[in-house]
């Protein structure tokens, strides 16, 4: 490999040294300046299409995009000059011209990048008030709601589905003003090859892709995020439980998660409704005269140990075996095998994930 050298550039008057190959956006971040970005995502390839991140660079025509421009020695960059601000405001006005502007009831309220930048640049209104797209909301699957009226065509969902999930379910279709992210043949996700991993939901900067179950359950500032490990399989993905008033309303992935980053499967991301399900069993049940009756833990454990002892006595140690589950933690599995070996007294212990 070629040896990486450093380059020094000036951003908004500040000199900063970065390794060669660094983009202007990354360099600015290093200098403590943040540049707005809608289509850029550090984990995905660079699209350079939203044009929010434009800056002025001495000697360059027009306003180059900082997400895609590589810093060079002696480069002089302005991130807040008049033309830059004018351009960003205009880009926002153009986005707002084709947006429903129903932020008050939007699930993404407080968490939406478009809203954030409109606030930052104080774009209150758009001068373009004629036509807007009106697409039907797609709501016919249990997990994801797609509202293409809120889509800003950043293409992150397309790239994550291709580059991370490897499913290639989504792609741009049509052209120009009618460009739209669609599945093959523009059918709903449920009729496509989608596996509902929800990665696209995780990267979407606006309310175009939402976790269906969370809609109406709480606004971003009302929700507490509790980091936890997914209970479904042995991979051990981490994510944030979204908790409001002591109740889990859903899951969002967390880029900081060591094992999985923002990546989750359909079960981990969307399979939390059992937690507060009315049919969920919350106490032990003992069958008395043919019907299950609620019991206390003491009562239940006493009954189980009594029966184990009786079985051991009548049929011998080898008559009992145990199967453990991948959904249990390591600690629980450890305890289980200890129980079988030390208490029951045999090696009849197995695990669902072994086969």
């Amino acid at each position: 490999m070629k040896k990486m050298s450093d380059v020094t550039l000036t951003i908004d008057g500040k000199q900063i040294k970065v390794p060669s190959g660094t983009t202007v956006m990354q360099a600015a971040e290093k200098a403590g300046l943040s540049i707005p970005a809608l289509c850029y995502d550090p984990e995905l390839s660079i699209a350079g299409s939203c044009r929010m991140c434009v800056v002025e660079i001495d000697g360059m025509n027009n306003l180059p995009t900082s997400c895609s421009t590589v810093a060079t020695e002696g480069m002089v960059v302005q991130t807040k000059s008049k033309p830059v601000i004018e351009a960003r405001k205009m880009v926002l006005e153009l986005y707002l011209a084709d947006h429903p502007l129903d932020c008050m009831t939007c699930q993404k309220n407080g968490n939406c990048l478009l809203q954030k930048y409109a606030y930052e640049y104080q774009v209150k209104d758009t001068p373009f008030k004629e036509n807007k797209h009106r697409y039907p909301i797609e709501d016919n699957n249990p997990f994801i709601v797609r509202d293409m009226d809120k889509c800003i065509n950043c293409g992150k969902c397309i790239r994550v589905c291709d580059e991370v999930q490897g499913r290639n379910v989504l792609q741009y279709a049509y052209r120009g003003y009618d460009t739209k992210v669609t599945t093959a043949m523009d059918v709903p996700l449920i009729e496509s090859e989608c596996v509902f991993c929800g990665s696209c939901v995780a990267v979407c900067p606006t309310g175009a892709l939402l976790e269906k179950k969370m809609i109406g359950k709480g606004q971003s500032w009302e929700v507490e995020k509790v980091k936890t490990t997914c209970p479904f399989c042995g991979v051990g993905c981490n994510f944030d439980l979204n908790v409001r008033d002591g109740k889990v309303i859903g899951v969002t992935s967390n880029p900081e998660s060591e094992v999985n980053g923002r990546h989750l499967c359909v079960k981990g991301r969307f399979g939390t409704d059992y937690i507060h399900h009315p049919e969920r069993i919350t106490t032990p049940l003992i069958k008395k005269e043919g019907v299950f009756v609620e019991a206390s833990w003491d009562e239940a454990l006493d009954l189980v140990s009594k029966k184990f002892l009786a079985m051991k006595k009548e049929y011998g140690n080898e008559s009992i075996g145990a199967l453990s589950s991948a959904r249990c933690t390591n600690e629980e599995n450890y305890v289980m095998q200890k129980f079988v070996r030390a208490v029951i007294g045999n090696n009849n212990i197995d695990h669902c994930a072994r086969t």
Binding site: G48, N62, M90, Y95, A97, P127, Y177
Partner: protein, 617 residues
């Protein structure tokens, strides 16, 4: 290396003296559209009927579109005569008088092709001194309409592939240096120095390199590239091979738009013939240089003329432009260093190596060398192709060559550079046409389409027309262009339908500024030019639409009112019958009246009236 010299001499013997009469029909797309096929049928028919022994050949468009169908008649030992406006009905007289009687039909004859060997006819001007060609310098188009584009031998006898022969005996770097010295700049629109571009591709590291020829010619109003491809396809192949040799490429692609089926057919045939002659394929002319050329047919997207969108399209993707850098010279087709030039640029390359760098550099202006081919369209008297040295003024092109405005109306503006270009008014007609002068006045060379507009053209409507085009052709990748063209068009639609407000002008200007600086590719960056240039030179027309709710040129439907001149109306009821919404009242022999409340300003009454009694203001 094998030399073509002997072959060329043999061929010259064969072709230069004809032993029987030869009739050649101009069968470019335009000729065919004007009925060249029917003329050809009529000719075959008449020749058979009269039992004449003549050869009937086909050539391409010579550039006089306003005189299609063009037919050339040549008798042994006499200079060929080119006729214009030939119809099937005129064929017999032409045959009888010229072919049989050796007396050319003077009233249809446009010019004769003097060659110094034969005594010219009296009373027919030579091509060089004819009205249309006197002010032209035909170099790049010299073979168009003169040779059969479907026969490589005719290319060879007109010194075709001589440039390639010379180049193959030269070092690649020297070839690039020569192109630099010639001063050639790209004819695809931007005017980028060709030599420099080749140098980048030459210097880029890569185990494989490509040559691409941009034949997507999508500018409405432009057909120079089509004429070259149809008329002289080998010149383009030769230029590509020279470029390939210079940068170290062994494969080339021509990206042609699907709307040019004849060009595609002729290119395919040219490639096949070049292979048969050992001029394409492995070890060209027994040298160590090998080169192959493929044709890719476009699928209908203007943006694919943008070179990175074009590369994506060749690769089979959506034709959306790529971010630059990296430039195609470094990372182009399938990630390999690629050189892309326009059709006319490659045709110039072949010319430069045939006739010499110094000769070439002596034509044109300081910074724009050589000639440029323009297509003259719109309200110009003589529509067609015109090739002139760079630096010729617009006035010379429009008036001296194009014959001024049709029906002697007044000139209003000329649109140059297609949807990326601008509209220039009368007082800019004396600027020399070169890359830099045009940019200065807010237009650009573009590919060379000139659309002339007369006093009856509304400039706001023209801007709206171009925006409609750009809006429909935006690829949709980046926000300023995808959304901006749409909003700009909405504003223009509003203004032309009388619903504009003065703030709209400021909105247009602000939008234009951001689109220019912030769009990803040339389409979005230049889409505002027609708006900006009309705002710059014809702002009063915008204001008339907005403030007075009036279209000064009488074009914008919604702003027109129709009424009937009581003096002229004889009460024939024709207008009332024609009106689709029954807005006209009146009985036979009584003056008719139009109810403005009902009238939808369609103009049907005006067309129907034989007495010029309908007034439009």
């Amino acid at each position: 290396m094998r030399s073509l010299k002997l072959l060329r001499n043999d061929l010259k013997e064969k072709y230069h003296s004809i032993s029987k009469p030869r009739i050649t029909i101009g069968m470019g797309t335009c000729g065919i559209a004007a009925g060249a096929d029917k003329v050809k049928d009529a000719l075959y028919h008449a020749v058979a009927e009269k039992g004449l022994d003549v050869d009937i050949e086909v050539t391409s468009c010579i550039g006089m579109c306003y005189k299609e169908v063009n037919v050339e008649v040549a008798l042994p030992d006499y200079p060929p005569v080119v006729y214009g406006d030939i119809t099937p009905a005129r064929v017999t007289r032409m045959l009888e008088e010229h072919v049989v009687g050796n007396t050319p039909v003077l009233e249809w004859a446009e010019f004769q092709l003097e060659n110094g060997k034969h005594t010219p006819y009296q009373d027919i001007s030579s091509m060089e001194s004819s009205d249309y060609y006197f002010h032209q310098t035909r170099e790049v188009t010299s073979r168009c309409g003169r040779i059969s584009p479907e026969n490589i031998e005719e290319y060879l006898i007109t010194d075709g592939y001589e440039g390639l022969e010379k180049v193959l005996m030269t070092q690649p770097q020297k070839v690039i240096d020569d192109i630099k010295a010639s001063g050639l700049r790209g004819r695809g629109g931007g005017g980028f120095p060709t030599g420099l571009k080749w140098q980048f591709a030459h210097d880029a590291e890569g185990d494989k390199k490509y040559i691409v020829c941009n034949a997507d010619e999508g500018d409405p109003g432009a057909f120079m590239d089509r004429s070259i491809l149809e008329g002289d396809p080998h010149a383009v192949l030769e230029g590509m091979m020279i470029a390939g040799y210079a940068i170290g490429a062994d494969e080339g692609y021509i990206y042609v738009r699907a709307e040019y089926p004849l060009a595609i057919k002729r290119l395919k045939r040219a490639i096949k013939q070049a292979k048969e002659y050992g001029l394409l394929g492995d070890h060209i002319l027994e040298s160590s240089f090998s080169f192959d050329i493929h044709i890719k047919v476009g699928a209908g997207a203007f943006v694919c003329g943008e070179e990175t969108a074009l590369l994506n399209s060749i690769e089979g993707k959506r034709g959306m432009p790529r971010l630059r850098p990296p430039f195609p010279a470094v990372k182009g087709l399938w990630g390999k260093p690629t050189n892309n030039n326009n059709v006319e640029t490659y045709a110039n390359v072949a010319l430069i190596f045939r006739k010499g760098t110094e000769w070439y550099a002596s034509i044109g202006t300081e910074n724009s060398k050589g000639t440029k081919v323009f297509s003259l369209t719109g309200k110009i008297a003589k529509t067609g192709l015109a090739e002139v040295p760079m630096g010729t003024t617009l006035r010379q092109i429009i008036y001296d060559i194009g014959g001024g405005i049709q029906e002697n109306k007044r000139f209003k503006a000329v649109q140059i550079g297609g949807p990326s270009g601008g509209c220039l008014p009368e007082d800019k007609l004396d600027i020399p046409v070169d890359y830099d002068s045009l940019i200065k006045v807010g237009a650009m060379m573009g590919s060379g389409g000139l659309v002339v507009m007369d006093e009856a053209t509304c400039m706001v409507d023209v801007a709206r027309y171009f925006l409609t085009f750009s809006q429909a052709e935006s690829c949709g990748k980046c926000t300023p262009c995808r959304e901006g063209t749409t909003r700009m068009l909405e504003i223009l639609n509003r203004i032309t339908s009388g619903e504009g407000e003065m703030e709209d002008i400021e909105r247009l200007e602000r939008l234009a500024r951001v689109m220019k600086t912030t769009s990803l590719c040339g389409l979005g960056q230049t889409a505002p030019n027609p708006v900006l240039s009309t705002l710059r030179y014809f702002k009063d027309e915008y204001i008339a639409h907005i403030k007075d709710k009036r279209c000064p040129s009488g074009v914008c439907n919604h702003l027109l009112t129709y009424s009937i001149d009581a003096e002229k109306c004889i009460g024939c009821t024709a207008c009332a019958k024609a009106c689709p919404v029954n807005a006209i009242t009146g009985t036979v022999k009584k003056t008719h009246e139009i109810n403005p409340e009902i009238c939808i300003t369609c103009g049907a009454c005006m067309e129907a009236c034989h007495f010029d009694a309908v007034i439009r203001v």
